[in-house]
């Protein structure tokens, strides 16, 4: 039986450039600490077992799954969430803008995780090949877009042609068909 008298532990870390002090149970995940204790609800939980990537945040610049970390592991760490990647003036950063330009999202639930993953990926590999892009995106699941706009967005953010092509259009009439 769990003991709810477990003393909470103090963690000091930096989140989006702000020093934070958290008092958490040792079992509290980083994701829950961010979402509930710091009200940074942009980090989403899609599976809570480390597969879907919706909860991806940067820890000391590396993309990690915040559902697989305990908050107490973050003592002294520098955490960046999707909120921390967004310019304060309400504009979009180049990765975010590329997602908007290329219809890289529909319901938007997986999107913060993709934004954070892509940010880390392009920092490591600013000139990726198509195959590297798809491999890098393989750690994040999206159920709405079929990844079409997401792949294009990463190419745009990397300064490459997106490969988007104009669709063929036909306006038939019955006469023309017969």
């Amino acid at each position: 039986m769990p003991d709810h008298e477990i003393p909470e532990i103090t963690v000091r870390l930096t989140v989006n450039g702000q020093p934070e002090r958290l008092r958490v149970e040792p079992r509290r995940t980083l994701a829950d600490a961010l979402r509930e204790d710091l009200a940074l609800t942009g980090t989403h939980l899609g599976c809570e077992h480390g597969v879907c990537g919706a909860c991806t945040v940067l820890v000391d610049g590396q993309a990690v799954r915040s559902c697989l970390l305990f908050a107490v592991q973050l003592e002294g760490a520098e955490v960046t969430t999707v909120e921390g990647l967004s310019p304060a003036d309400g504009s979009l950063n180049p990765v975010q803008q590329a997602f908007r330009d290329n219809h890289g999202l529909q319901c938007g639930f997986c999107t913060p995780g993709f934004i954070v993953s892509v940010t880390a990926f392009l920092a490591d590999n600013p000139h990726p090949t198509d195959e590297q892009i798809r491999e890098a995106l393989g750690g994040n699941l999206c159920r709405c877009t079929g990844y079409q706009g997401i792949v294009r967005a990463v190419k745009q953010a990397a300064g490459q042609p997106t490969g988007a092509r104009e669709a063929v259009e036909l306006r038939p009439t019955a006469q023309a068909a017969s």
């Binding site: 908007r100 319901c107 639930f109 999107t111 913060p112 995106l137 994040n140 988007a164 259009e169 036909l170």
Partner: protein, 775 residues
């Protein structure tokens, strides 16, 4: 598709206007249900059955109740007496349905069935409490498959006479019998579809808060329809609808799963009313996979009668659906849609269909993007099977049987009337885009080299229902005293981009820049009633409502503007947010000035002009509407490993006039990716005792960017007769992709005489099919 900002545009419909939804969602500022916290909010966790079938006893909640932080532990005996009705507005109270209950009582009927709800100060404590609830289940042999449901003397629901959730018998049809008796060819085949499921990236969730003093229930939920949540909560709790305020915020996908509240939501509502507190339940992924509603497990026997030239004369179908124990809506069957849509894009003189829904001790069926889609999945496979047996190329076979534009309006064998569909044109466009003849030559060369390429085609007609509860949507438009515009729609957009596309329609119809218009939906206190976003209806119905309200508003604005301009209403127009005399833009009166008069200086208005600028309007749609498409895909199968590589994927579709081509293509893409997942990767599996085997994303495999190729699109545009000429198309990608993909694999493996009638087409399954073919 080149996306454009709304800002500078003169006209919006037809352009890939970038989405209004995006900035908040991309920056982590969306507000999904789990992001909302109510005052003194409690958290719920469910205790669920680990056994598929058995008697339930000795539910002991004492240890859980004793846990500090646990506020309440409620069982079926506590909750169920407070659940008054479980039916949905779409079907009404008398539709065939399982004996519903919020929590299991006395027995359990599927793994994951909720037995108790634990309510605590935090989610962690609620889950600790759930672990402490003890109970006994005396297991009985579970009924897992459809064959078992038919053969077993045991009943999934002892209250019912059989395991049939419902049955549709084929009408006697001597004319059809004669067509079969005299046919040059008769071909029979059975097609199976495995259980694969919605899996929105956001699981289900609800916050319900009952205020006993105001007698008011506040609900925030992840839903496709705030209004059905309200209506069903009113019936469930037996409280008046006007004492319930239901809202949806951003919703992280659904694909049908969140169309109707399920047992967990009902239990939370009952518990909130019992406790007089706010209770949040956030489903976790294991719960979502095991107990969030399932789909697709079904089979169809198909017989075609054909003439000597390979023209389809008649068809017989028998559709069987595994509806689980507690399907989400009524009898859980989709056969009434599947049998009506079976003729699809082809000439058939007579069709006879029958169907059975079968209860099993598995998770109940819910809607999933094109729930009736087996008609397309089975028919399009049948077309390829028949073409192969008759030695006719599948493109040529379709050309011989497809309905052409000059035959419209066309009445199908199931009495559906197509007015504006273009199956032949999409077939030709897809064939051209995939470079059909070139591929056939390449395929032949490759086979000589021991490489196995395949091409799959599939055609379909996608219905959008406009009858019953689905027949109307509403819009309210308010021009505020500042001249800015608020639009309130009855929609429940949860990824479909209606916040953008509905405003494109309003902006054009009204003559006001899109940037001056805001959008509200999914709030029963603010927005008109609507059945929610689903069934591919929004392009036609939401646009219809938006246009009707915008036209009325435009008349109101023009009346005030004309008065201020001292002109006749017929001599002025509203464009770019300015009313001016036609042909003389220098006379313009901006909307802000008109609105100021309409609200703040009403004595300037003559008596025949009403003060204020507020209108509400409704659109009533036709009974049923249709769009169509053709999918063409090429694959290479590695016959040593069984691996399938997708080479190219082409969709040619006709959704009439496109409001926003970017959004249209996005809807297609998402659906096709779900089809790829379903055919190759996704399979919700049970063992023989009804134990779920695929309870995490490590076992239930969703496709990633690695598995999904680039898609190519063609648009055939035949405007519908509905306002704007728009047609719905949201489900088609998921309906038509499975048969196209399966046909491509079948084509690739034709040298091996492989029979492909079951999926998923895993490498193992493909190797087995090659072996069994014996070539």
């Amino acid at each position: 598709m080149t996306a454009v900002e709304a800002g500078g545009a003169a006209r919006f419909v037809g352009q890939s206007v970038k989405r209004r939804e995006d900035p908040r969602l991309i920056t982590g500022r969306g507000r999904y249900v789990d992001d909302v916290t109510m005052p003194r909010q409690l958290y719920a966790a469910f205790v669920r059955s680990p056994i598929a079938r058995g008697s339930l006893s000795a539910v002991d909640t004492d240890a859980a109740r004793a846990l500090p932080g646990v506020v309440a532990v409620l069982t079926g005996a506590d909750v169920n007496p407070n659940g008054h009705a479980y039916w949905m507005s779409m079907l009404g109270p008398d539709a065939p349905a399982p004996p519903m209950r919020a929590l299991a009582e006395n027995d359990v009927r599927y793994v994951g069935e909720p037995i108790a709800i634990v309510i605590a100060e935090s989610r962690y404590i609620a889950e600790d409490g759930a672990d402490l609830v003890d109970f006994d289940v005396e297991p009985e042999q579970a009924i897992v498959t459809m064959d078992q449901a038919l053969a077993s003397a045991e009943r999934v629901h002892p209250e019912h006479d059989s395991n049939l959730s419902n049955e549709i018998a084929a009408e006697p049809d001597p004319e059809l019998d004669a067509l079969f008796a005299n046919a040059a060819h008769v071909v029979d085949e059975t097609f199976h579809q495995h259980r694969y499921i919605c899996v929105p990236m956001e699981c289900r969730g609800i916050i319900a808060s009952w205020d006993p003093w105001r007698q008011q229930m506040e609900i925030v939920s992840a839903t496709q329809t705030a209004h059905e949540v309200r209506a069903s909560a009113a019936r469930l709790l037996d409280i008046p609808e006007d004492h319930i305020h239901s809202v949806m915020g951003d919703v992280g996908g659904s694909f049908g799963q969140k169309m109707f509240p399920m047992r967990e939501e009902f239990t939370v509502l009952i518990a909130a009313k019992m406790l007089g507190r706010a209770i949040k339940w956030t489903e976790d992924r294991a719960e979502n996979l095991i107990a969030g509603g399932h789909a697709r497990e079904e089979s169809m026997d198909v017989s075609f009668a054909l003439d000597a030239d390979g023209r389809i004369l008649a068809a017989r179908t028998h559709h069987r659906e595994n509806v689980g124990a507690y399907p989400n809506l009524g009898d859980g069957m989709n056969a009434s849609s599947s049998l009506v849509m079976f003729p699809g894009p082809y000439h058939m003189q007579r069709v006879a269909s029958s169907a059975q829904g079968l209860y099993t001790n598995t998770m109940g069926r819910c809607a999933y993007r094109g729930p009736w889609m087996l008609e397309t999945v089975a028919r399009e496979q049948m077309v390829d099977v028949v073409a192969q047996r008759l030695g006719i190329d599948p493109l040529e076979f379709r050309r011989r049987n497809v309905i052409t534009l000059d035959e419209l309006p066309f009445t199908t064998a199931t009495e559906q009337v197509y007015e504006t569909v273009s199956p032949a044109e999409t077939l030709e466009q897809a064939a051209e885009l995939i470079r059909y003849d070139e591929f056939r030559a390449l395929q032949a060369t490759a086979r000589d080299e021991g490489r196995y390429l395949g091409l799959g085609l599939a055609l379909y007609i996608e219905p959008q229902y406009g009858f019953g509860i689905l027949g109307t949507e509403g819009a309210t438009i308010r021009v505020e005293p500042s001249g800015k515009v608020n639009v309130y729609m009855s929609s429940g957009s949860h990824g479909q981009s209606l916040e953008t596309t509905a405003l494109q329609v309003v902006a054009d119809e009204l003559g006001v820049p899109m940037d001056d218009i805001s959008f509200t939906q999914g709030d029963t206190a603010a927005t008109p009633y609507g059945p929610g976003t689903g069934g591919s209806r929004s392009a036609a119905l939401i646009s219809g409502a938006a246009m009707a309200a915008a036209q009325q508003m435009k008349e109101r604005i023009i009346a005030v503007g004309a008065h201020l301009l001292e002109a006749a209403p017929g001599d002025v127009d509203l464009d770019g947010g300015v009313v001016s005399v036609k042909g003389d833009p220098s006379t313009g009166v901006p909307l802000a000035q008109i609105a100021a008069v309409a609200y703040l200086d009403t004595d300037q208005l003559p008596p025949d002009i009403a003060p204020g600028l507020e209108v509400s309007a409704r659109y009533k749609s036709p009974f049923i509407m249709f769009s169509n498409a053709c999918h063409a895909v090429t694959v290479e199968v590695d016959v040593a490993t069984g691996e399938v590589k997708l080479l190219r994927y082409v969709v040619s579709e006709d959704c009439g006039n496109m409001i926003n081509p970017m959004v249209v293509e996005g809807q297609i893409a998402g659906g096709v990716a779900q089809g790829i997942g379903g055919v190759f990767y996704e399979h919700f599996e049970y063992d023989e005792d009804g134990n779920p085997l695929t309870t995490t994303f490590l076992d239930y495999h969703l496709p990633t960017a690695v598995e999904i190729p680039d898609f190519e699109y063609g648009h055939v545009i035949t405007p519908s007769p509905t306002p704007g000429g728009y047609k719905g198309m949201g489900e088609g990608g998921a309906m038509c992709s499975p048969p196209a993909l399966i046909n491509a694999v079948r084509d690739a493996l034709s040298p091996f005489h492989a029979t492909i009638t079951r999926q998923p087409l895993t490498p193992d399954a493909i190797l087995q099919a090659i072996d069994a073919g014996g070539a």
